[in-house]
Amino acid sequence: MTDTPFKSLLPGVLGRIDSLIGRAEVVILAAGVLLMAFNTIGNVIGRFIFQYSFFFTEEVNRILIIMITFAGIGYAARHGRHIRMSAIYDALPIRSRKGMMILITIITALTMFALCYFSVGYILKVAHSGRVLPALQIPVYWIFLWVPIGFAVTGIQYALTTVKNIIEKDVYLSTHIVEGYDDDEIEI
């Protein structure tokens, strides 16, 4: 993935907020993975050298994996990196592909918005129950706050891609990735 600065489709303040979210996603992904690695490595070292496991390792990893997952789905939507079975789609002529892509992005955006709504309902339920993480004593619903944000950001990205596909001539996988764009650097 090239680090081409992400430029938002949205005008003015909204655009700036969108770009900020985009940058935050990158930081959360990288920092989240590194923290998870240090946390897990620390626990292994603690267990083998000091015969002492950190009491919080599992809970911290649980918080981090939720952060990474829900920051990442937005990032993946922004850069057209969600896995798809595109073999049939790729065989279609460009006009049908464009129509299909508009349909795909609309359905995906709606699914994400619905999940955002339902996850807010879930968080309210958890908050109401008053559960806390046993080791860290943090209210459990705090760690889920990323979930609706992630779904909303992903939904917005797909909705913007729909708009982009309607107003532009090419077929866009995300707001700034044109399909068939040949990246020289192979990413795995």
Binding site: I83, G121, Y122
Partner: protein, 427 residues
């Protein structure tokens, strides 16, 4: 309801939606039907979050991170180099080296895509120069990379282990036997191919060159020791082994080889995070989906209709094999595992099959399916990495598929191929 859920999923998958969406919408529909409307939808979110909760899943990002560090640093190349120096000179030596390198690389990384890139990129130009046909090279790289699925660590096995509550350590150890068997058979085919097509043999490396290459690879050879040795010896859980690998990879590439800088690590962490997220959202969506189909007893309905309970255990393994094989010819292996494991869970239990054997067989099928036309995902990795047209990539695949099918049949009739090492280590 079973038919509608299946139809929603297949149509949306083939239409090219991001793979999480067909799973989510099929689950949506299931919750909607089961609970008469959207009143219980927050329960679906709860199932999704429960799906990504198991602590053993942390091994997935850790193994991906370790493999990314090694591939971008020098570890991967040093391992490949050593293999070449030792067996490059036999008949079909470059091809045999490729198969061996894929196996060795599989022992440090859990992903076939990473293996295609790490082994295929340096070896393909050399093999082309030596006179191998491109169709053979591409087929060999795609299929040998699938050995990485079976050799621990294996992302697919971790996910199977978590959703079927099977010991990941035992799965890892059980994958070694079939993985090595495949390597031997692929090597044998490569030798036969080189003899028939009269591919000239490579010059033999001198012992001083070999010792030099082995010296350079001695550090990276610590990875299989940590993973297989650590788990086999009961020292590490898979997650701990994964963390130890990350630590070891960081020390090697940053301190010993000095090939990566902190900014490189930051980039690697970002791309690891992205891959993790794309996999985990699927795992979450898969968990919601699997809850719905289990609750509605859809597996029982589907499997009952083909009369699976009247079949013997071997026939059941046969049905499982074919289903996973066909599934992976069309979609990503992780999605196939997420969808089909819960479908077969009741019958595996009813026929009292060993879940570790089932997991190994599934992993093998996933590997075969991913390399099989029309849509096996490794084919598309190869198209992207080597920039060759589809037909070129698939032309030479058939003999490899035959070998893989032979091994699958062998595994059903001689489960000891997989279970021997497991029984030795854990029973």
């Amino acid at each position: 309801m079973a038919i509608k859920i299946t139809a929603i999923m297949i149509v949306l998958l083939l239409a090219g939606l991001p793979m999480m969406v067909p799973l989510l919408l099929a689950a949506f529909y299931g919750f909607y039907e089961l609970f008469d409307g959207i009143s219980k939808m927050e329960f679906m979110v709860q199932q999704m979050l429960a799906g990504i909760r198991p602590a053993s899943l942390i091994a997935v990002p850790m193994f991906i991170l370790a493999a990314e560090i090694m591939t971008r640093g020098q570890s991967a190349n040093r391992l490949i180099d050593m293999v070449m120096k030792f067996i490059g000179h036999v008949k079909g030596g470059l091809a045999v080296s490729a198969a061996a390198a894929c196996t060795l690389f599989g022992a440090v990384s859990g992903s076939t895509q990473a293996t295609v890139v790490a082994v295929g990129s340096p070896l393909r130009p050399r093999m082309l120069k030596a006179g191998y046909k491109d169709s053979f090279i591409l087929a060999l790289i795609i299929n040998a990379s699938d050995i990485a699925f079976l050799i621990p660590p294996s992302i697919g096995m971790i996910i199977y282990g978590v959703i079927s509550s099977t010991s990941i350590s035992e799965l890892f150890i059980a994958g070694v036997g079939p993985g090595l068997l495949l390597m031997v058979l692929f090597s044998a085919y490569s030798m036969i191919y080189a003899t028939i097509h009269n591919v000239p043999t490579e010059p033999k490396a001198s012992w001083s060159e070999r010792i030099e290459a082995a010296r350079k690879a001695i550090w990276p050879l610590g990875f299989p020791v940590i993973i297989v040795g650590g788990i086999y010896g009961g020292v590490f859980s898979p997650t701990e082994a994964a963390a130890a690998c990350v630590f070891y990879a960081l020390v090697l590439e940053m301190v010993v080889f000095r090939s990566l800088k902190p900014t490189d690590i930051y980039k690697i962490a970002k791309s690891t995070g992205l891959i993790t997220s794309v996999v985990f959202i699927l795992v979450g969506a898969g968990a919601a989906f699997s809850w719905v189909i289990s609750f509605a007893q859809i597996p029982q309905a589907i499997l009952g209709s083909i009369g699976i309970l009247e079949m013997g255990p071997k026939a059941v393994l046969g049905v499982i094999s074919v289903s996973f094989f066909v599934g992976c010819m069309f979609v990503d292996p992780i999605v196939v595992i997420l969808v089909l494991v819960p479908v077969f869970a009741p019958v595996v239990k009813a026929v009292a099959l060993d879940p570790v054997l089932v997991g190994t067989i599934i992993t093998l099928q996933v590997a075969i399916g991913s390399a099989t036309p029309p849509f096996g995902c490794d084919i598309f990795t190869a198209i992207a990495v080597f920039k060759r047209p589809y037909m070129d990539v698939i032309r030479g695949i058939f003999p490899f598929t035959l070998i893989l099918i032979a091994v699958s049949v062998a595994l059903i009739f001689f489960p000891q191929i997989a279970l021997f090492a497991r029984d030795l280590a854990f029973r």
